[in-house]
Subunit: 446 residues, 2 copies
């Protein structure tokens, strides 16, 4: 067996990087649970017909088949997001869920992408959604970005991850605006306006005139609308200045105002109204969210989502929802690859208990057991070598302390400072800094 090569698009972490990932996942989980979201996990596979329903996405699905099973076409695929499986889970379990149902879900997803720089075929997402039966109150559109921003802010403060900027829009606002301009096909306008960052406002105007067949004044106002943004409610006056009236527009403005003003209160500077945000997929029907890492905008959105009036329906009852998905791998993998995050050590172990000779290994085990009982991660030296070699072993693994001697009359050495003190395994504690691996940011400028 020769040395295997990594598979393109399937990132795997070193033990050190995994400590950082666990740190991030633990904090996401904690934030979600503090906000009353319950965890669920869904199976990795869904029936293909369920995966294939969302527009073009079926192109990226991995199919799954028993190697020695039936020879027909595959009928299962790996899930490519956590929304489709969640919708199915809600329908399947509606009879035993209390609505509105608040859930978070942190799992891997798979996409059969062509291998390409920055494209992942397996990656981790952390989703939160709230769904209700029949109708879902508007205030949840305000709540979801607050929870997401609280989670990302925690990563910023605790880990030194770059700060984020969430851009929010509302489909009703744009839709109402277009209808108020008496444009017959608002969806077509949205599709073109969505390209404004890529091709610029002038070419969007051109395309709107030539392809959607609207007048130049109409097209210009659509583009003017898309260029409005503000960190407070001032976007409303700017929109009103364009002189368009429509009930849906008014509704959209009110909803978006509510999101922006509430966010300004709890997470100031982290959320703006940005009226060009459209989100590609068609199923969003109200608020839409995108989030960039400040200074790393080219990485794309690391937390996206929106409201969908019908996440799922069993034919009788429909389940509207609002959700946001944090791209954990998309956020972390580049930071790890650039060495911008480090763990204080690559192992959980705080103390290596040295071994005098194989005959006294039992004593070392006893010391390690006493330390563990009090929550101190400890391991026993694998070889009863000279102490110098045992210390070098600890050093190579990043273990900060080495214990010498037994449960009575023992000594513990901090191998970084060289300081060695008498210690009792029933009472000695490392500093809280050293108890568990810490995550260090090497990006003080962010």
């Amino acid at each position: 067996m020769s040395r295997p090569k990594p598979l393109s698009g399937f990132p795997e972490y070193t033990p050190e990087a995994r400590i950082i990932e666990q740190f991030v996942l633990d904090r996401l989980r904690e934030t979600f649970e503090l906000h009353g979201f319950a965890s669920i996990e869904t199976r990795a596979v869904e029936p293909l017909d369920r995966l294939a329903k969302q527009g073009e996405i079926d192109k990226e699905v991995y199919t799954v088949q028993r190697l020695h099973g039936e020879n027909g076409p595959a009928d299962l695929g790996l899930h490519f997001d956590l929304t489709v499986p969640f919708a199915r889970y809600v329908l399947e379990n509606a009879h035993q869920l209390a609505f509105p149902f608040r859930r978070y879900q942190i799992q891997k997803v798979w996409r059969g992408e062509r291998p390409q720089e920055g494209r992942y075929r397996e990656f981790t997402q952390a989703d939160i959604d709230i769904v209700d039966a029949e109708t879902l109150a508007a205030h949840h559109d305000v709540e979801l970005p607050l929870v997401t921003l609280a989670a990302l802010e925690r990563l910023h403060v605790d880990l030194g991850l770059p700060p984020v900027l969430m851009r929010v829009n509302n489909r009703k606002l744009a839709q109402g605006f277009y209808l108020g301009l008496e444009i017959a096909d608002p969806a077509a306008v949205l599709r073109h306006v969505d390209k404004i960052d890529k091709i610029g406002p002038d070419r969007v105007v051109e395309q709107l005139i030539n392809e959607v067949k609207i007048t130049e004044p109409q097209a210009r106002r659509c583009v003017q609308l898309a260029q409005i943004r503000s960190a407070d409610a001032s976007f409303v006056a700017e929109v009103r200045r364009l002189g368009v009236e429509h009930d849906q527009l008014t509704e959209g403005l009110e909803l978006l105002t509510d999101v922006v003003t509430t966010a300004a209160r709890y997470v100031p500077g982290r959320l703006i109204a940005d009226l060009k945000i459209a989100r590609g997929l068609d199923y969003y029907t109200g608020t839409v969210y995108e989030t960039e890492l400040v200074g790393f905008e080219s990485w794309g959105s690391i937390a996206s989502g929106g409201r969908y009036d019908s996440l799922a329906s069993d034919g009788r009852i429909s389940y509207p929802g609002v959700g946001l998905s944090i791209g954990v791998t998309r956020l972390l993998a580049p930071l790890l690859a650039k060495g911008m995050l480090r763990a204080s050590r690559p192992v959980p172990t705080a103390v290596l208990v040295a071994v005098d000779s194989e005959e006294t290994r039992a004593t070392a085990i006893e010391v390690a057991e006493q330390l563990r009982t009090r929550g101190i991660p400890a391991e026993v030296a694998p070889r009863a070598e000279k102490y110098g070699r045992q210390i070098r072993y600890a050093d190579r693994r990043g273990i900060p302390f080495v214990w010498f001697g037994g449960t009575v009359g023992g000594e513990v050495k901090d191998i970084r400072s060289g300081e060695q003190v008498s210690a009792d395994p029933a009472s000695w504690m490392p500093s809280s800094e050293d108890l568990k691996p810490k995550v260090l940011s090497l990006t003080p400028s962010c």
Copy 2:
């Protein structure tokens, strides 16, 4: 979309059951880290040729293919255990790992089994392994069951899971015994002796005579060996009484004695030497482990493993290892299905903050935020209904407390007792019992 049906073999949990699973996984992780095992995760897929190498297992593999990719045969499969991917990970990353390398890995695995009661196609395993380069010291064979038993003991004490009994044997012991009896094909004997529980000792003797072509006295002694078991070192005398001599036998007896006597000291009553344990797969070369839940032996082994002299090899260096795998789904799913474990509530939320009217929702958000800052999971009532209805909503979701009023002059009601007291969101705390969901065992007899 009609109500979807579960897929056979792909268990999914309710939010309540998921809380129990998380509780278990958290405790496994904590125990593993206390013993200095580092976490890794490997990708879900491996090249098929790597999966197909382990004897018959390739029959159960799920292949994975891009739906719109090349039309040739699949070259990737979902991993069916965590040992094969770990071996590949060690080879791939050997240059940046410190040996002996101690890792734990908690992930889902997939097997393309025919659907059948109690057979899972997707399930969670929790593995610990220690691998070294070239040689791995024998004391790790003693260490691994101690860590596994510490983890399972914690589940027994904290969750009321049934206690376990680990049965340990050593392949060298049996192998040396057979060689000492001058049996030419020890592996063939082992295969038959492995069936002793299913077909009984007499039929094993019969088969050994007829199929392995050994004499009746030889066969009888092989079966006598397999029937020896003890919770202390007394099995050695019993084996010696059979009058067989061989270096490998002696080595195996010493190794097994070490495991049994050390375990008796740290986890008394939880581990026995049981000389009939063989473990089906061929790659184990020394100690082998199996573990049953006491009272639920028919569920099979819930933690198995052993030593393999060459987990992986890159042609130049070989990596011997010893590992144990806890079948988390196999352990939990039946207990959950039988209702033997319950969570104190199915949501993380400790406090529902009631809402007077939509106009004062901001006040309720403020209260919830203050509670969360101090680690109290809180959510705001979804609808500004009559208080009675909001209390019923909390009750339906299992939330123990409802908060009325704002940040000043508020009151909190324990809806179980009906007790309502004045409270300040900056200082009020629920009891530690109520802060987070607790897991309750309904099996006091175990």
